[in-house]
Subunit: 287 residues, 2 copies
């Protein structure tokens, strides 16, 4: 972020240069890791699926007992204003809401939540990752308050070093072999009969996940329910979904191939359908 000196951010009611976007150390994000966020892509000045992201942002705030200091309409206006000022070709906006400045460093002060918006240039996943698929490991862990997009990524960040050491691409969380999600992505398998399945318990409900479920249900059987590690090795295909990666084929888990060990046709068909949906969405908004 320090390398983007011309960008603007929104901090506690004001648009300021990103280089001057600071929070006081009494903020409960700093003192107690207490906060939620959301993140979406912006194409030129058009935020993608912004209504879905705002739905989720307000729901995360509710689950964490945080009051968003702006109405939804006013927040939407700040998003558009920031996008206009920063004027980036392809970017991501993060909306962050923390417990705010707290005199005792523990108790939230009503009405004091800190709302911060940051916009940064975005590079989408490389085509090579789609062509080759990614290799992952499993790790036993369940996120706290999984339905809320909290800022708690303690486990994900602690695992970065292990990924670097092993050369693997991501970590899939499971509890007693029942899988949930990646630190920042949802997970899907495609069974041998082309049923598209994604976990529904202990997961954050991703916006890409939601769109893929809708698209998949038009052409395949779809299930939201338990997926075990064994189910994955018996599956025909697997993929992850998130805002910056869209759909990314997963071809290996814990050193064992999934399906043929190559990106599968259902995955690639859903990726193509998702990209069409994106284009349609951006086109509609543009009119």
């Amino acid at each position: 972020m320090a390398s983007s000196p011309d960008l603007y951010a929104f901090v506690r009611g004001e648009i300021v240069p990103l280089t001057r976007a600071y929070l006081h150390v009494s903020d409960l994000a700093i003192q107690r890791g207490y906060g939620i966020f959301d993140y979406f892509r912006v194409h030129e000045t058009q935020p993608l699926f912004v209504e879905d992201h705002l739905d989720r942002f307000y729901e995360s705030a509710r689950l964490m007992q945080l009051a968003v200091p702006l109405t939804r309409a006013a927040l939407h206006e700040v998003i558009l204003e920031l996008a206009r000022r920063n004027d980036l070709a392809l970017s991501g906006i993060k909306i962050l809401l923390t417990g705010g400045y707290s005199p005792d460093g523990y108790t939230p002060t009503p009405g004091e939540a800190s709302l911060v918006l940051i916009q940064q240039p975005l590079t989408m996943v490389e085509q090579a990752a789609v062509d080759c698929g990614i290799r992952i490991m499993s790790h036993e862990y369940v996120r706290e308050v999984a339905q809320a997009k909290t800022i708690n990524y303690t486990m994900g960040i602690r695992l970065i070093q292990r990924l670097q050491e092993t050369g693997l691409d991501d970590v899939l969380y499971h509890q007693q072999s029942v899988v949930s999600e990646f630190p920042r992505s949802n997970f899907f398998i495609v069974r041998q009969d082309n049923t598209v399945v994604t976990p529904a318990e202990n997961v954050l409900f991703g916006i890409t996940r939601k769109k893929v479920l809708q698209l998949a249900s038009r052409r395949y059987p779809v299930e939201e329910g338990p997926v075990t590690l064994m189910d994955i090795w018996q599956a025909k295909e697997a993929f992850l979904t998130n805002t910056t990666k869209r759909l990314l084929p997963v071809v290996e888990l814990d050193g064992k191939p999934i399906g043929t060990g190559k990106p599968g046709e259902v995955t690639l068909a859903l990726l193509a359908a998702f990209q069409e949906l994106e284009q349609a969405e951006l086109h509609v908004v543009r009119l």
Copy 2:
């Protein structure tokens, strides 16, 4: 904190007025709730049990793969310098180490951890709380990376509202009836035979806990091991320990009295012994 305009803090290498103690929003505490801390009392300019707290601080940093940007001797010097500048009668110093400024908001940059020290006036627990004891509820939860003093207090803060609604004083975490700790304190029981017992699994090893175990072992049988909810109701006494409360009697759990429902003699004897130890420690350091 905003109400203490004359105090100084230490932020990323510099002593600055507390009112100007800010971190950039790219800091991994703000982005991802990633950080650790420690907290100790300071009497005039004498930090209490500071070597124990520094041991734990460096151990928390190690467990969370964070490099403290100062040697232990240099950090100790910063603590003393801050205490001299702020010159408070009774205070607490918090040493906070976060994942630091991160260009992508996720990956720690080696050597970029943010070290922050904040000192604030401290009011010790009121005598009435010692005289009456406190009433607590149980809640099923285990802290992540419990041996590290991380900044993740998501659950503790979410439970503040329930405590306010019920008028209870604190929440004791348990997993399937095996208790661990409070959000910010350790827990002890005294069995009918005067054995002093404290959980040893899934707890942060408090400095007051350590001192109380040492003091207790001189006069009572002592155990570090499993404590169940049932053990608590069958106990003679119970108490919590932490830096600002020392020992505080716990007289009721989930609406049912513990022992006689009044502060017990072993608890009060240990509190007196702990206060003597404090005085001796401050006296020795002063010489």
